[in-house]
Subunit: 331 residues, 2 copies
Amino acid sequence: MGDYPPRTVRLGPGAEFDRIRAAIASGGELPAAVRVGPGDDAAVIEGGWVLSTDLCVEDVHFRRSWLSDREIGYRAAVTALSDLAAMAATPLGLLASIAVPDSEGVDLDAVQAGVAEAGRAHGASILGGDLSRSPGPLVLDIVVLGRTSWPVLRNGAEAGDEIWVTGRLGASAAAVHAWRQGDEPSPEAREAFARPMPRISEACCLVEQEWVDALMDISDGLSGDVGHMAAASGVKVVLQAGWVPISDAALVALGAEGALEAALHGGEDYELLFVTDPGVVDVDLFAKRFGLDLTCVGHVLEGEGVWIDHGDGEPRPLERAGFDHFGSVDR
Amino acid sequence: MGDYPPRTVRLGPGAEFDRIRAAIASGGELPAAVRVGPGDDAAVIEGGWVLSTDLCVEDVHFRRSWLSDREIGYRAAVTALSDLAAMAATPLGLLASIAVPDSEGVDLDAVQAGVAEAGRAHGASILGGDLSRSPGPLVLDIVVLGRTSWPVLRNGAEAGDEIWVTGRLGASAAAVHAWRQGDEPSPEAREAFARPMPRISEACCLVEQEWVDALMDISDGLSGDVGHMAAASGVKVVLQAGWVPISDAALVALGAEGALEAALHGGEDYELLFVTDPGVVDVDLFAKRFGLDLTCVGHVLEGEGVWIDHGDGEPRPLERAGFDHFGSVDR
């Protein structure tokens, strides 16, 4: 495995990312055994090992009234595993740290069973973890370990490239919207939130086919995550509003305009976002192998920032970034 | 690097460890690339990589009135790094997941600066992490990555071996005792709690000298941790009460009897506990190199459990285990 300069990746705007930048800056020089340092979806270590960690906090990332305890564990693990997909890495193991509320009501066995189920489903054995009481919310921090022979980073986008996404977006945000209104989401929307699918095989296929110059998963919303990719690559991205693949569940729940908002900004779809040379993607091959859409959603240009074209040929800056835990978005 | 059977290590009694056992059982078979699975201080992966994660929860592991924000970050990182010392591994990097209370008052920059300072002090670069709001306590989960050519596990103790510890015990517990009484601990006791020293170089020296058959760090208290080692190795341990090295800070704060209790059960000393053949340890070499005591505290016998001899030649079962987050001990 070679080296992947730059080993520290630039992040897009947002208060959470300012904090991460500060932490990176204070960390000093990286040792030679570190192939990819902080700022991408995961770190990469000598031997092709890929390492990431993902927090999941009650009343920030989920509410207990929305999910069963087993689903809470399952979802925390698959959203962490999605960071391995984002590096085109194959999962090997996970470590689960869980802080359990003092108050009655959380079934830790069920939470752990959900974590283990997600691990089994995607080839990640439980390698360790930690447990604690919590005087407040249920907190999970899931560490994932995977391996790749060639990690694909966020910083490979170049002017002229196409921007693609897997699957359809917005269903997870539609579920959150319904719960917040006091409604029950449709089964499809609920499934998208509760059991997102980390696109691990799909990411490996994209790499095998040599279709990807840059890759990440969509956890913070297409707009925010494409902003991270643009910043990491030093390019401008123009999204075509009419091309964004919107899930039927979002369309039914939110209407056309609301569903586009959900698809652009909602986050937590855990689909893949990738950048490739024009004309190389074979949509039929992907549909046949995975039963999954691949959709071109825009282009890479010289410049900076994320822009959106609503079909009038006049791209405008795309204002709202994705879900930022330290911004003003309360969820 | 060879293989280290058994790859899953048995844990001592305690509710927290029952939970960890359940999680291990549900994890299924371990992949071949996993050299040491869950149950020891850390997992070991092909290539000699050592991986562990450690939760640190406000009002469970510390109170904010006891430590500055920088000390909270520093302490969380060094206590996690102590798990690498426990495997005789050299630190390479760390990932810091931090959930920050919504309420005013936590300086995240200071917490992160403390984590980074601890990393720099012990050779661990910041490789990543995650940030979130917390609707409750400040929560840190520190993932540590290290490397070793020969990890030393907990399960190598055999009848006839001697049990040794580094340093002196009880000062950290003396600090907690003072804070709980509404007093300020002595500077020495406070330092032991706020800035424990992960015994990384010391562990590597023990391995180089071929003095260790089993090794772990003392995080849950000597009594509890020696119980884990006894269970992992399938042996009985008899501690000599009069041999336990007690810190002066604990003696001054707690008197002889209280200091022995603190040294046996207090936890969070982060000294090393190791087992070796009789007569091989060179105390002077260690004192000269590290300025640190090495003390034999007991012996390994055939049987099971942890026993203590108060000098009357009649060992009794040592009742209280170490700090168990899911037991009745509230701290």
